[in-house]
Subunit: 410 residues, 2 copies
DNA sequence: GCCTTTATTTCGGGCCTCGAAAAAAAGAAT
DNA sequence: ATTCTTTTTTTCGAGGCCCGAAATAAAGGC
């Protein structure tokens, strides 16, 4: 049911817009905010002075060397770093990263550790995470804003409320209540998010003009992750099992996938699939848990230098990804594609077959128009995205305290 | 750029909500509207008396036999049929339907004709449409509200502004400026919409509680159409080439599709594909333009009664649809699927293989939870959807007069 | 007929945004 | 050095909108 717009929603929304305008990171003046939002200068003035008084915004440090024009100079506004602190936790295979970020998103403290995620017991895994957060908080001391939120990011599938990890390749355990454990320990709201979705969040934050309405993020690692942004909305799906690009079907009854089914895109384009193929193993051979980076790079180099099973393996991968993207482009308009992860290092090897596959699908007519952006290192993006996700939630809490989200009118 | 919420936007949106609440068709009282929208009784009271005064709403005819409770009885509100008239045009293979609907959506006049769409010249085709509308308007006389909008619905691809038909199987011509022609002749806004999308609009209008957030509409005819509703939004795509479920790839280098590519779902599940397969023709045989209903029904009957090429053909079709849906369920959450068109008559024949295919994909885990709704006759749905689409646009125009253009300064 | 119940309208209060005017803060001109 | 000009920001009064409370309206129950 569509809910009515109350009189006080108005202020809330406009506060939201002001915060969002400042979070864009351009240190806008009140005048610029007024122009950007279409609201009057007087409105912006009152809202921003409220926000400054509440310690959410602050006058920007006068770093401007600036070409001074005539007239009263604009006063640049910025987020107050002290307004809040968030924790971004990234749990990946045998690696754990905990970052404290201030309200502007800048990192205060970063803690890295290497728990043996595949062998730890469930409790030990949860313990490793909470301990690492504890340690990071200790290390940060108290010279920062109040801790208000955490986002834990992981490869795999979460429950619909973003509170539990349902399945992940990094641990044999399932249904792990990370959010509950962290909330109990630290007393702030926590959500569990898919890593690739957070990459999408980070990309949009970095380049909102390019990644605004529609774009696809593909994370190439042992599995294939996807972040799907359509009409400006991140599609995580109501059950958070969505965005499983890697498990779209490429060939019925095809190669054996890590998920136990056959013919998934991942069973051709995941690291284990490329490895399996390059070594001449059967398509039905059991996937291995992880291939180290050096091996992948060596295979890519081999594929690049001479024909052989390595090259064929990457071509197969490109074909699977290409057909998958083609199907996506049939459903949605062609949109920018960002390829993230070590797999980008072999992009030159598989791009031709990928483009060839796209050309054989409905995406073909737009093949030239489809841009592929490469981001070799996913970790910074995941960290940024997780922090940004937590910050967005805080922004929401600040300007819309205790109000259910609205639904759009069709 | 996110735009600020102005003070008068508030009233506009709340007017919109009142109109929408009444359009749901339940003849709500002011009290019910207040409860549904969460707005106060006083607000609803002023808004609805405004709308009544403007001739948009009216007191419902006292058709209520009603269980009278104690207290002042509620006054049921309804749309004023005289508030507007819209034209819903459905152009399909060798058939043209023009319907005048009043503001409540009720049909006033319906004109059916049978132009030879495949052989008519482009001008003659446009002429046939405008003439048919003219005729319908003549027939309706003047005892109806002002004509405010038209929607032309067609199978095929439109341009991004919904003004031109770019490609359709019903005519050899391309890039036909239907909207321009109709607007020039009748002086009201016209859009050109895909038939399957309009079916989705109609389904939501009919059963908003079931078809609200996510559902997929599949139209089985000579081609395969899809309407994609995600998070309550109809995904037509910015270039309106979206929602092409039928051209997702099923088998690389597979059967020849009408679109010239190979392996599309349509090349296995479209009528021509089933026909081709049932007759033992090659997968690469040229698709035929149309199969008449009797032939399709006969093939379905044959498939039902005994094993043979017909049964195999439908099984192939079910497999292609199943894998396609499976890929969709990998990307999005499982959602209700509505199958529309004559193809539903063979649903019992292809359902087992379809479900089996879904089970082999990421959709498998939800197989039991996925409901398939059947709607054999698509024409009423397309007509309803087209009318509804036009009415929604009018509602927009009414509550948002003189669209608040954003003031973007360069 | 009067009481009770429920629906709708009226009225005053409190916010919110807006436009206009005032104040502030600079460079430019004299 | 002082007085324009220009531009930004704040202040202030007006008007619009929603809300809650009270008043009014329209039934059925007694």
């Amino acid at each position: 049911m569509t809910i009515g717009v109350r009189h006080d929603d108005l202020r809330r929304r406009n506060r939201a817009m002001v915060i969002a305008a400042v979070r864009r990171g351009t240190q806008p003046s009140r005048t610029e905010i007024a122009n950007a939002t279409g609201l009057s200068h007087s409105t912006i003035s009152t809202i921003s002075s409220d926000l400054i008084e509440e310690g959410i915004l602050a006058l920007a440090k006068a770093t401007e060397p600036g070409v001074l024009k005539r007239g009263r100079p604009q006063v640049a506004l910025d987020l107050n770093p002290q307004a809040a602190t968030v924790v971004a936790i990234v749990l990946s295979l045998n690696a754990l990263s905990v970052t404290l970020n201030d309200y502007t998103g800048a990192a205060i403290v970063q803690e890295l550790s290497r728990p043996a995620t595949l062998t730890l017991s469930q409790d030990a895994l949860v313990g490793a995470v909470t301990d690492a957060v504890e340690q990071a908080l200790d290390q940060a001391g108290s010279a920062h804003g109040p801790l208000l939120r955490m986002t834990l990011t992981i490869q795999g599938i979460t429950d619909s409320e973003a509170r539990r990890l349902m399945w992940s390749p990094i641990t044999p355990h399932s249904d792990i209540a990370f959010a509950d454990a962290l909330e109990a320990r630290f007393g702030v709201p926590v959500t569990v998010q898919n890593d690739c979705n957070m990459i999408s969040v980070a990309l949009r934050a970095r380049a909102p003009e390019r990644y605004r309405d529609n774009f696809f993020t593909i994370l190439l690692s042992n599995g294939i992750g996807m972040g799907l942004v359509l009409r400006g909305n991140l599609f995580t799906g109501a059950h958070s099992s969505a965005g499983e690009f890697g498990h779209m079907n490429h060939l019925p009854d095809g190669a054996l996938c890590r998920c136990g089914r056959r013919g998934c895109i991942e069973a051709y384009a995941g690291n284990y699939a490329i490895y399996r193929h390059a070594r001449g193993e059967s398509e039905l051979a059991q996937p291995v848990a992880d291939i180290d980076d050096a091996t992948m790079l060596a295979m890519a180099a081999a594929a690049r230098s001479h024909p052989g099973p390595e090259r064929e393996a990457f071509h197969k991968a490109g074909e699977a990804i290409g057909y998958g993207l083609g199907s996506l482009f049939a459903l949605f308009d062609p949109a920018p594609v960002v390829i993230v992860g070590l797999g980008t290092s072999a992009f030159d090897v598989f791009e031709p077959t990928m483009r060839d596959a796209i050309a054989r699908t409905a995406g073909g007519q737009h093949n030239a128009a489809i841009s592929f952006e490469l981001e070799p290192d996913e970790m910074p993006l995941i960290r940024e995205g997780a922090a940004r996700h937590a910050l967005n939630a805080i922004d929401q809490d600040i300007f819309a305290p205790g109000v259910p989200t609205r639904k759009d009118v069709a």
